[in-house]
Symmetry: C2
Subunit: 261 residues, 2 copies
DNA sequence: ATCTCGACCGAACAACGTTCGATACATCGA
DNA sequence: TCGATGTATCGAACGTTGTTCGGTCGAGAT
């Protein structure tokens, strides 16, 4: 009720850094923020220390101000995260402006790989991408960007809807799975990635061979796998299926749920 | 240090309910727990009220005991969630015992749909499935279950590894996207699902037609979409791609990363 | 009866998200 | 120049959360 509405948060830029410190008081000099600064700070903290590191107190300290001030720009932590996620998506959308390919599916592939790269380097994104509030215009823009090449293919609207949802779902799911908080031993550099994977694979190989034939079969592949390559392999399966669908003749007769508006 | 190791947590069953209440004291009678009871209670609370509802105090009250007792069975909340997730996976693995199909890809499809159904009814699962600690034996069993049909196909180990990772990643990603906390108006029943989707679609249609041609194109499909159908459509694209790969001749010459042993 | 040790509990702690009332500052009309 | 106004910032507090600590209960062994 008394909290600022979801609406307001006027975007103002560049005013940060005006210090006007009071001459006599022991009180901390006032600081000026901006939505840009708040979101940028949030992203910086998320990138540095992951999801747990982002607290209002940490963000306030990062900005050099007080905790309560943040609530002027953001109604609660959920909105902070949603807006921060959309904030980094803005740069992704900007970068995808150049992407073009005579082959529509090739274009989608490029867009998906770009999204994967972003989410892989920022695992916290996965959880808040598509937090379907109205606070994420760039998420929608990306959705549009991926869907547009599909308009060039002979598909029904429903097939297009399913295709985009599948591609984005696949990217997010795989990236979330892959980008899970790596156990500290990896971050310390105390254990190399190869060794970590190798040890994990050894655990798999130690399982009963009759009960886990498949796990045994892929232990080697897992031990030497590359995340991005793994992602692209799955993506190509999905896109191969999509291409097949686009080449197949459309179903005959009136289609369910098509051409209404 | 003083917390119980990740190892111990001996599984004991059925002792709950022994009350032995002290005659004179105003103190609460002692209660006996078990790992089973703790995880079952956690799952019940998660199902009822979602991820936020699961607190140590709520769980303690549900069990009729004290807060600190839970830490005898579980080192921290992360482990509680990981074990709870694996706990429900146990029933999934049990149910998949019957699944069989002469067509390997048909079998995988059935398994994927089953997983989707579970995650859709328990959205909290998505985040903690594959929290690759060693605490989730059933997660691994499911992985094995999905991968086994692939042994019947003419693929490299790497291709099998990629395929399973793609299928599971797709299921989790789509389920997580779909099963996002529905806005309260839906839970209240105050707004029907159709109306909710319709209003959302109207927002899409209100966007600029030149800037968002694709969003306009799929607005109708979105307004009438069914989550499970949407999922299955994407899954079938992925599996079609996989079938194509299985039919294609294997690459010639020594394969990278294969058969090293 | 006593000892032992696995299992349980109450009470406390620090950290977190959030709120409240006070207050500084820029702007503007007089 | 002055005061009024509304925007933006802040310190301090509140309730809740995960987690820890020291103590205690009680079944089975001695």
């Amino acid at each position: 009720m008394s909290a600022p509405n979801a609406e307001p948060a006027p975007v103002r830029v560049g005013r940060a850094g005006r210090s006007t410190r009071r001459a006599g008081g022991p009180t901390r000099p006032r600081v000026s923020h901006s939505l840009e600064a708040v979101l940028g700070g949030a992203v910086a903290i998320l990138d540095e220390g992951g999801e747990d590191a982002l607290t209002f107190r940490a963000l306030a300290q990062h900005l050099g101000g007080g905790v309560a001030s943040i609530y002027w720009y953001v109604a609660n932590k959920q909105e902070l995260l949603a807006r921060a996620a959309d904030h980094v998506l803005a740069t992704l959308v900007a970068e995808t402006r150049d992407v073009a390919d005579p082959d529509p599916i090739g274009e989608i592939r490029a867009l998906a790989v770009q999204l994967f790269d972003v989410v892989e380097s920022r695992p916290w994104l996965a959880g808040y991408f598509m937090a379907n509030s109205g606070l994420q215009p760039n998420s929608m823009r990306y959705y549009e960007r991926v869907g547009r090449p599909l308009l060039r293919l002979d598909l029904t609207s429903q097939q297009r809807f399913h295709a985009v949802s599948a591609v984005v779902g696949f990217v997010i799911g795989t990236a979330a799975d892959i980008g899970q908080e790596p156990p500290e031993e990896l971050l310390d550099g105390s254990v190399a990635r190869d060794e970590f994977l190798g040890r994990h694979a050894d655990l798999w190989r130690a399982l009963d061979a009759d009960e886990f034939p498949f796990v045994h079969d892929i232990a080697d592949a897992f031990a030497h796998h590359d995340d991005a390559e793994q992602f692209r392999a799955g993506l190509d399966l999905l896109l191969a299926g999509l291409r097949l669908q686009a080449m197949a003749p459309r179903p005959v007769g009136p289609e369910p749920r098509e051409g209404g508006g």
